[in-house]
């Protein structure tokens, strides 16, 4: 957690410095042109943000000054304060103090005195307000003065060593006075005199000057340029692309010379090392902590729980784990959806929870952990779990499943039906769930970045949804193989095994080919046949799908890649296996963006393009084709998105 806090602090500091700089600039503009409404608005906004940020960081002093500035500009906005040179002097001073305070957060040093200027500015605001309601205040002022005299006789006498409590009380009273009446101003100075480091000088003007003098060494006119820079992600994307190309080019150079120049091994090793370090540095820049996303859920959970009238505690775990910024962006909507689902479908209404002895508050846990090149995000609730019977009923109603099939399926398989397009288990449509984006959209988003989703649900005890995500989108392991039409790659995240069997071991069942692998029956498909289809609707017909099978001889060894996706296994028969390789996948650009079964392309060491198979799309297509009920409409849906 420590490193996480440090990072937040760094971000705060860099922003705060920028904000004070911006304030300086805007004050200057405003000083030249007192009617600059835009500048006034901007200052108001900046001080407001700064106040909120500082308060969030627990930096009360900074927040306090920003707060006063905000108040003043609120008055300026409504033309209650007229701008004059005197005010600007104070504003610039206040900003200097802000700078000094922020600096102090960065490198702790002598404490910065800020109360003088704060008080002075506060008084300005109060004066205004008081003028409006002066009459009302007279009485209050008298009472408070009397009380003050009574309360503070003792501390004023014991000036040598005022206790902390006394000081606190004093400052609290300062506030009381300020809200009471103008007459309080004199008393403030008296109370301020209690602070050991401050003089009894009753003139705030002078004490401010002194503060400024004391703070001098810290801020002076030294220009501080922030140590953090903001970069648009687009630039990083570009950089990453270039690094990807560099790696491809490096592989190519090494492959070209490898055969001849064995003696150059050293140079190549160095090149290899530098490029891979470069790659990891670039990837590292793109990593952000998951709390960037997780922290947004405090509010979301609160809002959803309020609407659903449920009580939910949010727990965050492992927020310091890092993940590629773009991946976080892609999954953010999915995560929101999953969290909403967990609250509105998972966690029970409080009456029901109490009846079941679970405790009024439901718990929702978001946790992240890193494992090798993956980040695993879990959304856990302690609600009622997913009821397979309800899912099955719904699936049958929606025509995703027949009654006979439902009775054959395991509970687990049934639960996974919630990922099917067109499935939405919300029985009534509420503001939160059932807005048309279903779990299938979540699934698609996760698939698109090569991640996986799994569900573990215990009826009555809760549900855990696990997202396994690549921590970086840049490189992925892939298996290269050859088909009639050239080389293809398939991401290793989908491959389960590679086997070589002879045709004898393959059985034809109807139009399907099956074999056994590790005691499990697996459907086989010749990718060549699939890719040679003239129309996708021919996929069920024997003469197309079994063309290669019928042609091959009985003893021929067949290379099969077994892929696994969404708990479905299938074997792809390929011509030849090539190698395993780290690839940089690029999406195909327009006009080929909607090409089926291909998710992108990579450039190989020899400069040739190698297409990357979209395994999820192929598996979905093949298994959909075999579904009984909604055969036709499924096909249409498949082609239209």
């Amino acid at each position: 957690m420590q490193s996480g806090d440090d990072e937040i602090k760094e971000i705060f500091l860099s922003e705060a410095f920028e904000q004070t700089e911006e304030l300086n600039k805007l004050f200057t503009h405003l000083e030249k042109n007192h009617t600059n409404k835009q500048a006034i608005e901007a200052i108001f906004r900046i001080t407001h943000t700064l106040k909120a940020n500082a308060a969030g960081m627990g930096l009360e002093d900074i927040a306090a000054i920003a707060h006063v500035l905000e108040d003043i500009f609120n008055e300026i906005k409504t033309d209650n304060i007229t701008l004059n040179q005197d005010l600007f002097n104070d504003l610039f001073k206040a900003n200097d103090i802000l700078c000094a305070l922020i600096n102090q957060v960065k490198t702790p040093g002598l404490p910065v005195k800020f109360r003088g200027i704060k008080t002075k500015l506060e008084v300005r605001v109060k004066k205004l307000k008081d003028e409006a309601s002066e009459n009302n205040l007279q009485d209050a002022a008298h009472t408070s003065q009397a009380q003050l005299n009574k309360d503070y006789k003792k501390p004023v006498l014991k000036r040598k060593s005022p206790s902390k409590a006394q000081l606190e009380k004093a400052s609290r009273l300062t506030k009381t006075i300020l809200t009471d009446a103008k007459t309080g101003i004199d008393m403030i100075h008296a109370i301020q005199a209690l602070a050991p480091s401050e003089t009894t000088d009753p003139n705030p003007e002078e004490s401010i000057e002194k503060e400024a003098a004391k703070n001098k060494p810290a801020d002076d006119t030294k220009i501080v340029i922030s140590e953090n820079i903001h970069i648009p992600v687009r630039k990083l994307d570009n950089l990453l692309n270039l690094v990807g190309e560099l790696i491809i080019e490096k592989d190519r150079v090494i492959a070209l010379n490898g055969e001849h120049g064995k003696g150059r091994l050293n140079e190549y090793t160095r090149l290899q090392r530098i490029t891979s370090e470069l790659q990891f540095s670039v990837m590292d820049i793109r990593l952000v902590q998951v709390n960037v996303l997780f922290n947004k859920f405090h509010r979301i959970v609160r809002d959803v729980a309020a609407i659903e009238n449920k009580k939910v505690n949010l727990l965050l775990e492992g927020t310091e784990n890092e993940i590629d910024r773009n991946i976080l962006q892609i999954i953010s909507d999915s995560l929101v959806h999953l969290v909403r689902n967990a609250i509105s479908h998972g966690i029970e209404p409080k009456e029901q929870r109490i009846r079941q002895g679970k405790g009024e508050h439901g718990t929702l846990k978001l946790s992240a952990k890193s494992e090798k090149n993956e980040v695993i995000i879990e959304i856990t609730d302690d609600g009622q779990g997913i009821d397979p019977k309800r899912i099955a009923k719904k699936a049958i109603e929606k025509g995703l499943l027949t009654k006979e099939n439902a009775s054959l399926m395991s509970d687990e398989d049934i639960i996974y039906l919630i990922f099917e397009p067109g499935f939405s288990s919300a029985e009534k449509i509420t503001a939160i769930s059932g807005r048309g984006v279903g779990m299938d959209v979540v699934k698609k988003a996760i698939d698109s970045i090569g991640g996986t989703v799994s569900i573990d649900s215990q009826t009555g005890a809760g549900t855990t949804i696990t997202l396994r995500l690549p921590s970086s989108m840049a490189m992925k392991g892939a298996l290269l193989f050859e088909l009639e039409s050239g080389a293809f790659a398939i991401p290793l995240s989908y491959t389960k095994a590679v086997i070589a069997i002879s045709k004898k071991e393959i059985h034809q069942i109807g139009n399907n080919l099956m074999t056994t692998h590790l005691d499990k029956n697996i459907s086989l498909i010749y990718l060549n046949d699939l890719f040679n289809l003239k129309q996708l609707s021919d996929s069920g017909k024997e003469k197309f799908m079994l063309r290669s099978f019928n042609k091959s001889s009985m003893d021929e060894k067949l290379h099969i890649i077994i892929i696994s996706f969404n708990k479905k296994d299938i074997g792809f028969v390929v011509n030849k296996l090539l190698q395993q390789k780290e690839i940089v996948e690029k999406p195909l650009c327009k006009p080929l963006r909607e090409v089926k079964f291909i998710s992108g392309a990579t450039i190989l060491g020899n400069g040739n393009v190698c297409l990357v198979l979209d395994a999820p799309a192929i598996v979905n297509f093949l298994f959909k084709g075999s579904k009984p009920s909604t055969h036709q409409s499924q096909f249409a849906a498949e082609t239209n998105y």
Binding site: E245, I248, S485, G486, A487, L530, F531, N532, L533, K534, Q535, L536, S537, K586, L588, C589, K590, P591, L592, E594, V595, K596, F597, I598, A601, I603, G607, N608, V609, C610, L611, F635, A636, E638, T639
Partner: protein, 172 residues
């Protein structure tokens, strides 16, 4: 990048001050076609092409052009004016890289194309032609007459935009 030779056939008539611009002329089948020069980014020798499954046959596939993976298209085959031998053996040595804000694709050509400077007056923009309805009717910008030559000036992106979806085989 192959050098592109320029033959200025038409002297610019300075008196009339007509707007002149350059076009890139290439052969498809036995006819001459042209694109306006700003649509063309470069001419390269055709890279190895990876065929994309389940696309129309005139989409030859994708190739690596300076680190970019671009779709490569045979317009001759699309127009139905390519000979069998051309389709099967891929005699197209060069690729024109054409780019708009939205698209960047390669177009196969047999020979290094020429540039030609023409003026607006050289272009007959309302040719009385029976348009091929399958290609849409506005991809031809006009006919350029240059001596005995008749050059078809087209807007390649009109073709691509229209066919964007048709590139990919449908289920029906």
């Amino acid at each position: 990048m192959e050098s592109v030779t320029e033959n200025k056939i038409l002297p610019v008539n300075s008196e009339k001050k007509q707007k002149s611009f350059q076009i890139i002329v290439f052969k498809l089948g036995s006819e001459e076609y042209a694109l306006s020069i700003e649509q063309i980014k470069e001419v390269v020798s055709t890279p190895n092409i990876a065929r994309i499954p389940l696309t129309q046959s005139y989409i030859k596939g994708v190739g690596n052009i300076r680190g970019n993976v671009l779709a490569i298209i045979d317009l001759a085959e699309r127009f139905g004016i390519a000979s069998e031998a051309e389709i099967n053996h891929g005699t197209h040595k060069y690729t024109l890289v054409v780019a708009s804000e939205e698209y960047k694709i390669g177009i196969l050509v047999k020979e290094v194309p020429n540039t030609l400077r023409v003026t607006d007056a050289d272009i007959d923009t309302s040719p009385h032609m029976i348009q091929d309805s399958s290609l849409g009717n506005n991809y031809i910008r006009g006919i350029v007459k240059s001596g005995n030559r008749m050059i078809i000036l087209m807007d390649v992106f009109k073709i691509i935009t229209k066919e964007d979806k048709e590139f990919i085989l449908k289920a029906d």
